[in-house]
């Protein structure tokens, strides 16, 4: 029974992992940039949501669109002023520019907010629904539902809107897209901003069960990369599968191994996938 319970928990948590990792795969799919600072936008989303809760009395989950908006604006600036300069640079410059961004964002938050841990209290924090002999944690369920809604909105946007189609065209062939009159620089900004916005959105919805501090991104870096590599770097649908898989792997390994080894299992899965199938388990390469 605890096995099924773990899978259920894993799927609920994994849905959030999918949404926070989509941005990473979106930026890679559209412009070939791996953003090592992506997890810092999760931290930013969490802080925005925390401040909205503490000062405006907003429920952290309802503050998620605000987190999205703040990160979107920040991402727009970062793409326009920093990353756009290294799009054609060697991967050394690309990797270490985003590493520099990671250092700046994390320490900027440390400077601005201090190193203390902050958490929220909500009415539903410790509630759970019973489903036969299974328990569904209410904060997990809410985070999952919000992630699902967000993921569906993204899917709808990418499928039906002109922007979404233009972005997909840019991902497929930037030069052809440009010849068709698409402003690719604008698409890059849009993809990057949308991506970090989604990550921040995910940060807000997990706030009821994760404490925020400036270094919180570090706990999610390898996790997010595992999600996108499992699904195939650049594939949005792959990130969803990868997110659910990582959630389940985490929940199951917590069942069989001591808590300190939980990340170890994840890292090993990550390395194994990279070594054996770097194009991802789901297959479709970019």
């Amino acid at each position: 029974m605890s096995f099924i319970q773990a899978i259920l928990d894993g799927l609920l948590i994994g849905g959030v992992y999918a949404v926070i990792s989509i941005g990473l795969t979106l930026a890679y799919g559209v412009m070939g940039i791996v953003n090592f600072a992506q997890a810092e936008f999760l931290m930013i989303g969490m802080f925005v949501s925390w401040f909205a809760w503490a000062y405006l009395g907003l429920d952290p989950v309802l503050a998620a669109p605000l987190s999205f908006a703040v990160a979107f604006a920040l991402g727009w600036l970062v793409q326009g002023h920093l990353i756009s300069h290294v799009l054609k640079a060697p991967s050394v410059a690309q990797i270490f520019l985003t590493v520099g961004l990671l250092i700046v964002l994390e320490n900027g938050a440390l400077l601005a907010f201090g190193s203390q841990f902050r958490s929220v209290t909500t009415s539903y924090q410790t509630m759970s629904l019973s489903l036969g002999s299974l328990f569904v944690s209410v904060p997990y369920l809410i985070a999952f539902a919000m992630s699902l809604a967000c993921g569906l909105a993204l899917w709808w946007f990418m499928r039906t809107s002109w922007f979404g189609r233009a972005m997909r065209a840019t991902a497929q062939n930037p030069m052809a897209a440009q010849l068709m009159g698409i402003d690719t620089a604008l698409m890059y900004k849009m993809a990057f901003a949308l991506g970090v916005g989604l990550t921040a959105f995910g940060g807000a919805v997990i706030l009821p069960y994760v404490t925020v501090f400036p270094g919180v991104g570090g706990q999610f870096v390898v996790l997010m990369f595992t999600v996108v590599v499992l699904g195939g770097l650049g594939s949005v649908a792959g990130a969803v599968v990868g997110g659910l898989a990582v959630g389940v792997i985490q929940a199951l390994s917590a069942l069989f191994f001591p808590i300190q080894l939980q990340n170890l299992i994840l890292f090993l899965v990550f390395i194994l996938v990279l070594a054996v199938r770097p194009q991802g388990l789901v297959g479709a390469s970019r």
Binding site: L97, L110, Q260, N263, L274
Partner: protein, 324 residues
């Protein structure tokens, strides 16, 4: 003959610096760590610069080196000089184990895989308490001072050992870069398929480079342990403060050049120390923030590193000389 003169001048100048610093002071420590990090970045430069495989997991080998010599000293009383070679051997083995599954990965994928490997090493060091003492960390025991025991009352000998280490690692880097292996690596970097066609065993060359790089940084781990005296898994296996920092030093200085890591370390380590000294009490994170900003500025302004500033200065000076 002529090109040895500037090198000799630089080495002599570097050797004179510790004599001018207060032997029990703060700056001799900064100087020692500058040399040590320059040597570490130079070891990284072999794989990151010559083979163009951007490792973000060198902390794994560095930590193995620090732990091996210290554990051998603690449990068996073996001199760290010998422990250094044992650590180097283990570091080389670890580098081989990591390199075999990751070597065919390129660019971002290799960086990600090595980052994860470094984290695996950190988690293992934290969990394997019976060997490493776990998160509590290890203290290098105090033994009667003497060269054979690698124990000194002052930092001065440590500064010279770090200087000699930097010279040795730089010499190895230059020998490899100028030798047949350097040409093979350059061929692989430019076009791996073409290199394979003309008969280069690309996997073998990359593995050799990875192992040499791992051995060297593991041996430097022992030097670090002897200077730092106390360390824990989260210090020596740290992705940010070891793996990424070492790569950054080489990149800010000029990746793939012998002088790059030295320039990078001379710039980064003292600046960081100065920041910590100035701001640590008032504002946590400010020194790291400035570090990040410097990194972004250097990458955008000088993607090939500070070494290009020197080159530009040199051409400018030469132009001036020609005019007069």
């Amino acid at each position: 003959m002529k090109r040895w003169i500037p090198i000799a001048v630089i080495v002599l100048a570097a050797a004179a610096v510790p004599l001018l610093l207060n032997p029990t002071g703060y700056w001799i420590r900064v100087f020692t760590f500058t040399l040590l990090f320059a040597a570490m970045a130079q070891a990284w430069n072999l794989i990151g610069g010559l083979a163009n495989q951007l490792s973000l997991g060198h902390a794994a080998f560095f930590g193995i080196g620090a732990y091996t010599s210290t554990i051998l000293l603690l449990k068996f009383g073996i001199s760290p000089w010998l422990g250094m070679f044992a650590g180097g051997a283990l570091g080389g083995v670890a580098a081989l184990i990591i390199a075999i599954p990751t070597m065919r990965l390129q660019g971002h994928y290799f960086a990600l895989a090595t980052l994860a490997f470094g984290e695996v090493a950190r988690v293992i060091a934290n969990v394997w308490t019976s060997l490493t003492g776990g998160p509590v960390g290890l203290s290098v025991p105090f033994v009667p001072p003497g060269f054979a025991a690698y124990s000194f009352k002052q930092l001065l000998p440590h500064a010279y050992i770090a200087l000699i280490a930097l010279i040795i690692v730089t010499a190895i880097f230059e020998v490899i870069r100028r030798g047949a292996m350097g040409y093979r690596l350059r061929a692989i970097r430019e076009n791996a398929a073409a290199a394979e066609v003309i008969g280069i065993d690309t996997t073998k060359v990359k593995l050799q480079t990875a192992v040499i790089s791992g051995v060297l940084i593991a041996m430097l781990g022992t030097l670090y342990a002897q200077v730092a005296v106390f360390f824990d898994p989260d210090t020596v296996f740290n992705a940010m403060s070891i793996s990424i920092r070492v790569a950054l030093i080489a990149i800010i200085g000029g990746v793939g050049t012998a002088i790059g890591p030295i320039l990078g370390a001379l710039f980064i380590v003292p600046v960081e120390e100065l920041m910590n000294d100035l701001f640590s009490a008032g504002a946590a994170g400010l020194s790291q923030l400035i570090f990040g900003v410097i990194l972004i500025v250097v990458i955008l302004w000088r993607p090939r590193g500070l070494v290009t500033v020197i080159e530009a200065l040199r051409t400018w000076l030469r132009g001036k000389g020609a005019q007069s």
